[in-house]
């Protein structure tokens, strides 16, 4: 009797569970789909709007592609003798160098905080945590005043240096180092007489690579999209990143037409590097999952 009941429940349970899963499964999927549409639609809009000429931009149906893409690209490239491409290069410089330096610095700091015991370790980490909570926007103006005092305002350094220190990156690197680098490995290295620097470079850094890639990506995107810091720091429009540069196209005073088509085309071009970067660095994340599986 009991056996049959048990058997029955055992037989019934998976069926109902599967049924429930199928029934309830729609809701999260729909939610995710709605989220995807919500985030991708603006990108689609930019994609379609960038193909429209100024005559078509406001007069034709929103989702109907226009015929002005090449004119827009040509005009954008010709704007003030190719200023747009200078801005793209600047953005690549700020985000590329800033992101790489930030990842390295976060790696060193996170590793030190995770793997060494020293006085003030907790204090430093707590200050960093407070830094994570502080929105960088708040710091832009004080940073400007400091840089101006040092004579560095309106230079490439004024945008690069503040981007290199990322409390969140250091925090992430510390967590990652604590989880990914077993103490035994370091101990074994020390027993073999490896120097601390060698230990970090040849043992710790490779193990932390996926985490550092994540820091690099986060920081790259943050710097690429940053507006306020370069807006406050830079006066010379040849040093502008693409965000601040495109803004000057939009607000040229009431008596000049806003260059909508150029700004939209510029916005489209400026997201392409981000997409390319994510696609090309994705495989490191996949490796991360694999290496995790091997380790356990």
């Amino acid at each position: 009797m009991t056996i049959t009941t048990a058997e029955r429940t055992r037989a019934v349970a998976p069926v109902t569970a599967a049924k429930q899963r199928r029934k309830g499964g729609w809701i999260p999927t729909l939610g995710l789909l709605a989220g995807a549409v919500y985030t991708l639609f603006p990108v689609l809009w930019v994609l379609i709007a960038s193909t429209k000429s100024i005559d078509q931009l406001f007069s034709t149906f929103t989702l109907l592609p226009g015929s002005g893409l090449f004119t827009n690209l040509h005009q954008l490239s010709a704007y003030r003798g190719g200023e747009f491409w200078q801005w793209m290069l600047n953005s690549a410089l700020y985000a590329g160098v800033g992101g790489a330096l930030s990842a390295l610095l976060s790696g060193v700091t996170g590793y030190a905080l995770a793997k060494y015991r020293f006085a003030g370790r907790a204090a430093i980490f707590n200050i960093l945590l407070a830094g994570v909570l502080m929105p960088p926007v708040v710091l832009a103006v004080p940073q400007y005043l400091l840089f101006a005092k040092a004579g560095l305002a309106d230079s490439y350094w004024s945008v690069l240096l503040p981007s290199v220190i990322s409390p969140y990156g250091i925090y992430l690197a510390r967590i990652y180092a604590a989880g990914a680098i077993p103490d035994d490995v370091l101990e074994a290295g020390r027993m073999d007489g490896t120097s601390e620097w060698r230990l970090f470079r040849s043992v710790a850094l490779p193990m932390m690579a996926p985490g550092l890639i994540t820091v690099f990506l986060f920081q790259f995107v943050a710097i690429w999209n940053n507006f306020l810091l370069p807006f406050v720091m830079l006066g010379d429009d040849h040093k502008f990143p693409v965000t601040v540069g495109l803004y000057t196209l939009l607000l040229q005073g009431a008596n000049a037409p806003a260059l909508y088509t150029l700004v939209i085309t510029g916005a489209l071009l400026s997201v392409l590097p981000l997409i390319a970067l994510f696609l090309s660095l994705q495989r490191f994340w996949r490796l991360d999952l694999l290496s995790g599986a091997v380790k356990s």
């Binding site: 931009l57 007069s59 490995v185």
Partner: protein, 440 residues
Amino acid sequence: MFSDAPRGLRLALGLTSAAVAAMLVAGCGSSGSASSAASSSGPVHLTYWAWAPGLDQVVSLWNKSHPNIQVTVEKQAQGDDLLTKVITASKAGSAPDLVQAEYQALPTLVSNNVLADISAQDGSAASTFASGIWKQVTLGTNAVYAIPQDSGPLMFYYRTDLFKKYGLTVPTTWDQFKADAEKLRAEDSSKYLTTFSANDAGLFAGLAQQAGAQWWTTSGSSWKVSLDDAATQKVASFWGGLVKEGAIDNQPMYTPAWSKALDDGTQIAWVSAVWAPGVLSSSAPSGKGKWAMAPLPQWTAGQNVTGSWGGSSTAVSADSKNKAAAAQFALWLNTDPQAVAALVKDSYVYPAATDAQTGGALATAPDYLSNQPDFYTQAAKIAATTAPAAWGPNVNTAYSAFKDAFGKAAQNRTDFLTALNTVQQTTLADMKTQGFTVSG
């Protein structure tokens, strides 16, 4: 774990090479400015923050003829953010030598000690400009804080074909304007005469100016703030009434939706300034040849007054180490016939200098309004009737208070006078917080 090393190495190499490549880019980018900085030991080198398009071309004329004073335009985005940026830079002692500044921003800049008094160099230029405009750069004192560049007298723009179609008369008074708005709604409920937009206080300021408002005045050392004076109340309740009864639209201007409404004829008129053809040509490209300009409607029939919207000047900063050279350039840029002609052509500027408003580069009408060949002759006549403006040291506060309060009132179609009172109270409180002596 050591088998991981090659991957890490490859990765590290990748990151390093990306960094190196970017450094190389930096090298290319900065080499230009480095060489120009090196040459600054010879001639005087001036930087100029401005937003008008095409100023580089105008300035290159100066650089060719003045090898000892070289000016570099650093193009900025126009607006209140730029004002904050200039003030911040000035606080840090690193403001550029020259800045483009809107008239209403001048008192704010002067009270923050951003601008230099250039009356010694450029005081004699007064006669080149209309007295109302000149007063805006002296702030009624003996000092000269900027040289006027452009002005924006208000005018009325309308679609000639649609006015004919719906049997509307071009309004000469605001009463007629209201009648037109109502008649159009009755004829075709899909159309509006125009919209009331709260996203740019400049237009409302100009309309109040036309009605005789004096928002900021001084007596002795104390300020009087009266953004809710009788004239402004008249203007606010007029537009508030139109919005409330639905005779005009309540959506903001300078949005894609607004451009579409102008382009497809959903909105058939626009109260704007002399520079409107430039905006129309990009926002409503299909209306070319269909629009026309008329003087602004008046409060009393037979009157002849207008306000202004926009307009800017060239100012010399107090931080500049070469004030005399900068003042010389500012004067040249805005009064030299060759320079002003280039400003009109390359920067779409309606010059503030009286002589430049007729003939020369303004002999022919803007392309967009080629159906109105005497456009600039009429514009100059209207410009001469501009009522004086009275700006104070916290126009930016008043403008953002306007955006908030009138934005809400327009969206909800509620009382504009309440909104106006909010703007007045916010502005007054801010003046006191900033430490100005305020009376009444």
